[in-house]
Amino acid sequence: MAGLQREVDPEYLFWEAPRRQVFITGSEAVAEAVKRANVDMAIAYPITPQSESMHLVGDLYAQGYLRDYYRGENEFAVMAAVHGASLGGGRVFTATSGPGTLRAMEMFPVWTGSRQPIVCAFMCRGVSLPPSIQPENIEMAMLLDVGMLMFHAEDAQDFFDMILKAYAIAEQPDVHLPVGVFVDGFFVTHTRSMVALPPDDLKLPAYDPRRAPVPTFDMETPPIRMVRDPLLNKSNFISYAANASWHQEIAAAAERARKHIRRYMGGLLEVDDPAATIFLAASGTAVSQSREAIKVLKAGGIRVGLIKIKSIRPFPAREIAAATAHADLIVVPEFNIGGWLAREIKASIDNNRRVVGGPRVFGGMTMPTELIVNEVRSALDRSGTKQPGSGARI
């Protein structure tokens, strides 16, 4: 089967190819994306809830869809090996979760600093003692400033599409940065839903290292004398300048990604009912819970719009400011204790007392719709805003 795959334009694969509905888990959606991504090499290390997806990627290797695949010795080593493979000029994929993400943490800024279009799926979970393998996305807060692009998938369909589109965005010569595609573990990875898939005999065009803005590490691409790190030899003004200007370049590359994210993902966010004055703003599975809460609130006579944030880095600050320009209240439900998304939104808009960070659940707890509904109602009570039915509890 692998040998029969045909390379097609990303545009065709994303929008024009016929799609077939299948009932699969989020982990299976990852493998379906990798199957069509023309990945040269994937490297895996087990950690819950990520492992299943990389088992399936291993099966793809056995079937000939990838040219190399192996199990590394730990997450730091895997992320280092993925870095090495990407230096060598090919397309790579890996995935990890919670504590694995943190064990590998040192490598993410290295990927970014090396301008590598690595795509990594992060199946988020709790990180702390007492131990938890349950869903939670606090690890995303820890990755906000490593320089990689970050997309947060709501469901398996998003996960599938975002992984494929991540390659198209990451490999743009004016971007060429790593992309993390995040999902709330278990809720998406271990549940089945309908996912529309293009045919599996189509794949993305192969990665072309000659289009990379940094020379490939193969002794074939001049200039051959190179080290990617600015020289840190002793005190050296050139070292400061080189390092600072490189960081600026990475930040600028992330900014340049915006136009590609708009093109391939239809925007950095989506807004339902833009004329509403009350919004739920969320990312990941909190979006799905928000949709349910909005149904309940609407049934009670409270009109609430939805802002689904798809790109966390770059962050759609201007878009959020525009979408909430006339809003009285923005409630931000999250699957983590810290409330990183609420902080990001507060930092993006004027009059940020309109932002209510909550409800927050963590440690693997689910987010019942009522929690969100009650948060909205309480906020309306506090603000004295008159809304039909705002006083009633459900």
Binding site: M41, R67, A80, H83, E106, V110, E220, T221, R225, V227
Partner: protein, 286 residues
């Protein structure tokens, strides 16, 4: 790599620095060079900021002269003093996080095998004792367990030199060093012995006081790694700055170590021995 890749177009040739022109015209990419030829060709290691008398700098110079195919050699290292000369090398050198060099080399080697199935791309790890024996020990050993076809070269100065002289796992027992104020409590980590049981098919322990042996070991190790599996060279590279001896005594210190605790040793698998005999015969025929 073809020498054509770095040969400047005629219009620009005069604009390039003499060093570059020398490298293209008289560098080691064109013909095979050996340690014995040092001083007669344009070396691929340029000026470097190591301390006077640095054993690490000497080992890197020997290594660069001994590469069987510098035009297709990729070096992966780690932060530390080794990086000073390695970044001044006219070949691809990557320095990433501390201790991850064998994992990076694994990914790199495998990807280059995918992209260049008909060319030997030699991936060589060159790092200090801290990077290989301490923080990177698990990654080093696992690359050997997995039988990755890479060469690992440890530049063992028995100390963390770059950060100011702290005890490393390769420091000698009893030595008083920073972070070992009462002397080191345990012997040198037997990485050379571990190499034998972890899958390396060829290994040499040597000091910079024996330059020809260093060159031969590097060359053999790289050639064998191409075909048979992981190889390891451990070079004693004394550090005058942190070990507090005069810079003109480096070779003397290394010679004494050879007699004392750093005797020359070589091991190889039966296949590696056969391969060396065969490749010697082939090169004579040529």
């Amino acid at each position: 790599m073809s020498i054509k890749i770095i040969t400047p177009v005629a219009e620009f040739a005069e604009l390039l620095p003499q060093e570059y022109k020398d490298l293209v015209a008289h560098g080691p990419y064109n013909e095979r060079r050996f340690v014995r030829d040092l001083g007669t060709f344009k070396e691929i290691v340029d000026e470097h900021p190591h301390c006077a008398g640095c054993g690490v700098a000497l080992a890197i110079r020997l290594l660069a002269a001994a590469l069987p195919s510098p035009a297709d050699t990729l070096i992966v290292g780690t932060p530390g003093c080794s990086f000073f000369a390695l970044i001044q090398t006219a070949l691809n050198y990557s320095n990433t996080a501390f201790g991850n060099q064998n994992a990076v080399a694994t990914g790199l080697k495998r990807m280059l095998e995918i992209r260049f199935p008909h060319v030997h791309k030699d991936v060589v790890v060159v790092a200090g004792d801290g990077g290989i024996a301490d923080i990177g020990l698990d990654l080093t050993l696992h690359s050997w367990f997995r039988r990755e076809k890479i060469t690992t070269v440890m530049l063992d100065n028995e100390v963390y030199a770059n950060t100011g002289g702290q005890e490393s796992g390769m420091s000698r027992q009893g030595q008083v060093l920073n972070m070992a104020p009462r002397g080191k409590h345990f012997p040198k980590i037997p990485v050379f012995e571990l190499a034998k049981v972890s899958g390396c098919v060829y290994g040499v322990r040597v000091t910079v006081a024996s330059p020809h042996k260093v060159g031969r070991a590097i060359r053999n190790a790289i050639l064998i790694a191409r075909e048979l599996g992981p190889t390891y060279v451990q070079v004693y590279t004394p550090c005058p700055t942190n070990m507090k001896f005069p810079p003109n005594q480096t070779l003397k210190v290394a010679k004494e170590a050879e007699k004392d605790h750093y005797s020359y040793e070589e091991f190889m698998s039966a296949e590696a021995a056969e391969y060396l005999v065969q490749s010697k015969a082939e090169s004579k025929e040529m």
